[in-house]
């Protein structure tokens, strides 16, 4: 069963809605015992980095997530804040991230000549595919997704980059390392492009 981790950050119903539309059941839970049975995990989230990490701590979810992802190698998809929490940390907060992916998040800062780029990066943007993957296969045209974020990922290594996006600068908008995938955008709010991505995660991982 696809298990959507509820740690109190943002809108989870829309992920379950889209999964249902493409024929996959899921459960939304914050119960470590239920997460322990997961065959696939989605770590979603909207909001601030420290609030998200603190919630994972307070709800006692860090150990079970580490066990599932690092020891059992269960496939996990991080979305937006969920993707950010998978890394070492973010300039937005003080707390350590989960540390599954090496790198940190930095704030978009646009100087002279780039003032038309407002922060947050909010709206539809395209992906430039950096390397073939199961997650991003099956698109007939350049995939476009809905983004809302103020911080962007700076990976320590280029090896895990699946796709980049241009918003004033070019940055990593999707990564994959073994069983861990993360996307900065919101597939659950991105029409057929998102349905294809979630279908790939549900069926090919």
């Amino acid at each position: 069963m696809i298990t959507i981790v509820n740690y109190g950050m943002g809108n989870l119903g829309s992920i379950a809605n889209m999964l249902r539309r493409i024929g996959h059941d899921s459960i939304i839970t914050s119960d470590p015992a239920k997460i322990a049975e997961a065959t696939k995990i989605i770590l979603p989230g909207v909001g601030a980095f420290d609030t998200g990490m603190q919630s994972l701590h307070d709800m006692g979810l860090i150990d079970i997530l580490n066990k599932k992802i690092i020891e059992e190698k269960v496939p996990v998809l991080g979305i937006c804040l969920g993707m950010q929490l998978m890394t070492d940390g973010s300039d937005e907060g003080q707390l350590q991230g989960l540390g599954w992916i090496k790198g940190r998040f930095a704030k978009f800062v646009f100087g002279e000549g780039l003032q038309q780029y407002k922060v947050p990066h909010m709206g539809w943007n395209q992906l430039q595919i950096a390397k073939p993957s199961r997650l991003l296969e099956g698109y007939e045209e350049t995939p476009r997704f809905y983004f809302v974020h103020s911080y962007y990922f700076k990976p320590e290594t280029n090896d895990d980059i699946l796709a980049k996006t241009n918003y004033g600068i070019e940055y990593t908008s999707a990564f994959e390392h073994e069983n861990i995938v993360g996307v900065q955008f919101h597939p659950e709010k991105s029409h057929k492009y998102g349905m294809n991505l979630l279908k790939n995660f549900a069926e090919k991982y």
């Binding site: 809108n11 909207v46 909001g47 947050p120 709206g123 943007n125 809905y146 809302v148 349905m195």
Partner: protein, 253 residues
């Protein structure tokens, strides 16, 4: 390439009927909201704004059952507004599957609501909806309660305040242009977009692709339209529609 958003706005009266107003008055019935959402879904619209214009008037909160029915059909970002007065209202609406919540009258009546909401839910969840009307001398004033009451503030100061409080976006409505399809109030858009760093959604007056293009040159980050996407032709026959790929390419060129 980053694309500026173009957003249909659906107005609901008593939740079960979709209407379109002109200058915030004379609601005309245009159909069933859930059906309209399904059509916009098929047309892959960038985003959808759904406003219950009877909630504040009837002094009630959001109709959650109905909002959930709409959110379940939406595979694009959805913003809900109407009758939002408390943090609990926002929690309830987000739980139904809505991404963004628009606050309008409560900005004036609950001065710390935006700040507390932005702290709790993140700025990108909170949209400050600002309705603006021009007086006889051409000065702009912010109105609340569906345009009925002036709060005696100009839109620039008001916008700066909501931005400082933590609103993630401003939905800027021109009451005078609402439903006219005669073009946006470009002066108003320019004033407000220049005054704040957060995205401004221009609303009120869109009638053709060039109107969006102009709004974007004045600094709008997104533009919304009601009448243009629910009516067609001179006689305003009801037809749910959206821009074509060619229109988008033209607007973003």
């Amino acid at each position: 390439m980053f694309e500026k958003r173009i957003i249909p706005v659906l107005l609901c009266d008593k939740m079960d009927s979709l209407v379109k107003t002109t200058k915030f008055k004379d609601p005309v019935y245009v159909g069933d909201p859930v059906n309209a959402v399904k059509i916009f879904n098929e047309k892959e619209v960038d985003e959808l704004i759904f406003l219950d214009i009877s909630a504040t008037r009837e002094k009630r909160g959001p109709n959650l059952t109905y909002i959930e029915e709409i959110a379940t059909e939406c595979f694009m970002p959805l913003c809900y507004g109407g009758g939002i007065r408390t943090l609990q209202d926002i929690i309830n609406v987000i739980k139904t599957g809505v991404e963004k919540v628009a606050i309008n009258t409560a900005i004036a009546t609950e001065p710390d609501l935006i700040k507390r909401a932005a702290e709790q839910f993140g700025s990108s969840t909170i949209v400050a909806s600002i309705d603006v009307k021009k007086d006889l001398f051409g000065s702009y004033h912010v109105h609340v309660e569906c345009g009925k009451r002036s709060v005696k503030m100009n839109p620039v100061d008001y916008a700066k305040k909501v931005a400082a409080d933590g609103a993630g976006e401003i939905m800027l409505n021109s009451i005078d242009r609402d439903g006219t399809m005669g073009g946006f109030d470009l002066k108003l858009i320019e004033m407000v977009a220049n005054a704040v760093d957060i995205p401004v959604i221009a609303c009120g007056g869109a009638g053709k692709p060039d109107d969006f293009k102009e709004a974007f040159t004045k600094g709008a980050s997104a533009a919304a339209a009601g009448a243009m996407f629910v009516f067609t032709g001179k006689h305003r026959a009801v037809l749910i529609n959206y821009l074509s790929k060619q229109d988008f390419a033209y607007i973003n060129a």
